[in-house]
Subunit: 233 residues, 2 copies
DNA sequence: AAGGATTCTGACCATTTGGTCAAAAGAAAC
DNA sequence: GTTTCTTTTGACCAAATGGTCAGAATCCTT
């Protein structure tokens, strides 16, 4: 495999400590600072999610945010800082659906609800999904520590819940981790491979008709599979 | 969305016509040409699948292939040419599993066999999977025409087969396109998000134990879903 | 062994890109 | 309105990168 890192492995928590901008930090953030940082991060999300860390350029991000490169670099000293800030801003949103999986709910309903939350996220924030996809695809140079830390903790916990459901016979006896992978894969696919889906379907997941069909298909397969039979009726 | 193309939209078929190398083309290809081109494309697959088109550098590809940059450029004049050649070399392999789906087979068995072929491909050629994933994620600047052409033809045809199965009641009544998407998503996930899977599982899909568990989970879900019940037994 | 074709290389060039800086322009406080 | 702090900009730099080229080295045929 490749050894050359795209970006030095910097933990997400380190950002706060680092003074990553030239804008004053001692006092409270200015109105202008808040506005500009937001529009920079919006622009950066678009660029990074399309071209990846290396492929995106500061010039393009600045241009998309309607400012000049040195002006942007007044708010974020280095390209890495922008990338880290974007990832950080998006991470919580990304983990929330799994966090909401309730151990004491009705197992099939909980799983279905989780699938739907993820599918909605793919529809409403496809760029965020692509940002993470690109980061992971390229070996997670930045998120690497998060994967083995924060994410693993959460997934281990929820996998234990699902495993118990299976042991109690409330769902089929399947591996909880691979079930979670399947849910991630199928839902995020609609965001990450949007171009392909649009080419084959003539419409993306943002189209409400396609969204409904996707939702129905996922429900059927995850609940009943493709086999015919009258299990419940 | 973004308008800036990573690479000019060049159809895959155009490559053959273009003289894309300085090496002689009039006569038959030399032993050295065959060998070097192969090792260049091997190296290029690694680099492109890790860093994407923009992120990969000719220097790195050359270095990985054990030659100097000008030497590499003797075989492929431009970076694009290498990228196109790699995509082309990998495309057929990628489409074959779906092509092998037989209309007159036993529907559930055909679907299962297709899933297994795709899963094996993810295990045996993860870099190829990542190459396509990166290309699609970035808007398919090169494969764009293939998606709406060759791939769409194939998928439309196989979707029709699956639709008939559903209409005849031989599988559950589900949308064939979304079923195909689910199969792509779940199987390719193991290649594309290998880093994440390794972080959470401590092992990749190349690990035979994980492969078996993945295969079993996919089989169960795609056939029966998560609901418990004694449909066939 | 000779000679022509093929392959390989170092030196080089132009462009892109991340990043700096001094100073101008603009807000905000008084 | 003046002063002080914040924001913006053009000019600039160094490194990385795609690509060229003339000539040297190597291979292959006879």
């Amino acid at each position: 495999m490749s050894s050359q890192p795209v970006l030095d492995g910097v933990a997400l928590n380190e950002i706060d400590l680092d003074r990553h901008s030239r804008a004053s930090l001692t006092k409270k953030r200015t109105r202008i600072q808040v506005e500009k940082e937001r529009s920079i991060l919006d622009a950066a999300l678009e660029e990074f999610s399309t071209f990846g860390f290396r492929g995106a350029t500061i010039d393009q991000i600045a241009s998309r945010a309607g400012m000049t490169k040195p002006n942007l670099l007044y708010y974020f000293r280095r390209k890495q800082d922008i990338y880290l800030a974007v990832l950080r801003r998006t991470l919580d949103m990304w983990l929330r659906p799994l966090e909401a999986l309730e151990a004491d709910g009705h197992p099939p309903k909980e799983i279905l609800a989780y699938i739907n939350r993820k599918l909605e996220l793919s529809r409403d924030n496809p760029t965020a999904s692509r940002l993470f996809a690109l980061e992971i695809l390229q070996g997670a140079p930045v998120l690497g520590e998060v994967l083995g830390g924060q994410l693993k903790l959460l997934v281990d916990q929820k996998a234990a819940v699902i495993r118990r459901w299976a042991e109690e016979g409330r769902i089929a006896p399947i591996d909880p981790y691979h079930l979670i992978f399947m849910i991630w894969a199928t839902t995020q696919h609609y965001a990450d491979f949007e171009v392909q889906i649009r080419a084959l379907l003539g419409a993306a997941i943002s189209d409400s008709e396609q969204f409904d069909t996707a939702k129905a298909t996922l429900s059927t397969i995850f609940m009943d599979g493709v086999l015919t039979g009258n299990r419940h009726g």
